[in-house]
Amino acid sequence: MKALQIAATGMKAQQVRVEVISNNLANMSTTGYNARRAEFSDLHYQQIARAGTVNTTDGAVLPAGVQLGLGVRSAAVTVALQQGSLRETGGDLDLAIEGGGYLEVQMPSGISAYTRDGGLQRSPDGQIVTADGLALVPDITIPGDARSIAINAQGEVYGYFDDQVEAELLGRITLSGFANSSGLEAIGSNLFLETAASGPPFIADPGTDGVGTLRQGYLEESSVDAVREVTELIEAQRGYELNAKVITAADQMLGATTQIR
């Protein structure tokens, strides 16, 4: 009775869907988080009777075959890269990216990671780092005596000092863009790594090449739409139950079979 295994693949798929939804809901307040969605694909088909088979001696062909599918599998978990709404924080190192680019940071291992979480901080020696202490690339250091800093949409970081009128250019934040941003590998802590699927990053100044512009004093909110997730959750739960019903029905059919002597 293949219906049992087929329904089991269906239950597994719906379970993956619930896991993806629960992760989305858990991250509905994570800065710069993008909602994920589970994609499914049907499995192979058994060709019980091939369409077009010559059926009779006068050459008439079967008008339609019988093809029985073997269930479902999860094909991909895609990221819907959407701009989250911007929340004003007033922090001078809070940056929101308006556009598709990523900030590049240096991991302790030396490789680069990419993030859209612009909640940046100052390290004890004045370096601009993420909340986890990873240094921004290119490295920008803010002198300890800077009164305030200003970051413009093009990524230029200016420092204001007590002893001078003109602002001093301290450095420029660049953004990295990818041909296929949904191919990036998420490693947690709002960080992503480059993969063969994402392609190499192209580094550009904010405002050029479609990487987007920066906005100081704002953070990008999670793009999770709670209403939509809950609707999907209901669908997934009912889908799970429907598949379970198929298992019960198939089991009862098997039970009826065993009762014949």
């Binding site: 269906g10 694909s41 088909y45 369409a51 073997l70 198929v246 009826a256």
Partner: protein, 240 residues
């Protein structure tokens, strides 16, 4: 010859197949672009001769996939494409070109437009669709014109099979064809960007059919049971 036994056996094995089709439809109720499969029972009539009535056996010998539009669900991703109306996307696979209505595409680092498992999407002329890797703003018009940053780049084609009989279902909500597909009629379908077409399985209808199949199966088993008893009785009475 145990005609009663054989006739109900044919029915029972057919019902098990139908149950498999129902289970597969329900398992794929969340598969993008999936088309529900339905089996059709046909009669196989055998003349018994000698003035007896002929017997008829019912077996699932045909199937069809109803072309009912699935609901469109908004995703907001630029390369999620749904077809409203008729037509299919044409994709190149190692097993030859296939048609599909599952329109979740991604961009490769080289700029190819691919299905999530890496099969290129073909344009109206049968050539792969390319988008420059640094293109930021992708728009797809309802006639399939793909433009990036305001410049038209390609025309995503809608296709249809010539021969609607020789279609084989393949994994990934795809259809393999015996003959080359042809471009769909002008205006038969339109492409909607940022949406995906959900599976056209109706859970209510499937569950109703499932209950029907299950009860029919139990009925058949009951009949086999009675037939078994009848033969035992016969053997008991005349076998002494």
């Amino acid at each position: 010859m145990d005609n009663a036994g054989y006739t109900s056996l044919t029915r029972q094995s057919g019902l098990i197949r139908e149950m498999q089709a129902v289970a597969n439809n329900i398992a794929n109720m969340s598969t993008t672009g999936f088309r529900r499969e339905q089996v059709v029972f046909t009669e196989y009539v055998q003349a018994l001769g000698g003035g007896h009535a002929s017997i008829s056996m019912g077996a699932p010998r045909a199937g069809f996939a109803p072309e009912v539009q699935g609901a469109l669900t908004g995703t907001g991703r630029p390369l999620d494409l749904a077809i409203e109306g008729e037509g299919f996307f044409r994709i190149a696979t190692p097993d030859g070109d296939m048609l599909t209505r599952a329109g979740a595409f991604v961009r490769s680092p080289d700029g190819e437009v691919l299905t999530p498992d890496g099969m290129p999407l073909l344009d109206g002329g049968g050539a792969p669709v390319f988008v420059p890797p640094d293109a930021a703003d992708i728009a797809v018009a309802s006639d399939g014109t793909l433009s990036a940053d305001g410049a038209a780049l390609a025309q995503i084609g809608l296709w249809q099979p010539v021969d609607t009989i020789q279609i084989e279902r393949r994994a990934g909500a795809r259809f393999a064809l015996a003959a080359e597909p042809v471009p769909a009629f002008e205006g038969a379908g339109r492409i909607v960007q940022g949406f995906l077409e959900a599976s056209n399985v109706s859970p209510v209808a499937e569950i109703a059919r499932m209950i029907e199949v299950q009860r029919a199966y139990e009925l058949g088993q009951g009949f086999l049971d009675k037939e078994d008893e009848r033969m035992r009785g016969f053997i008991r009475s005349f076998g002494r």
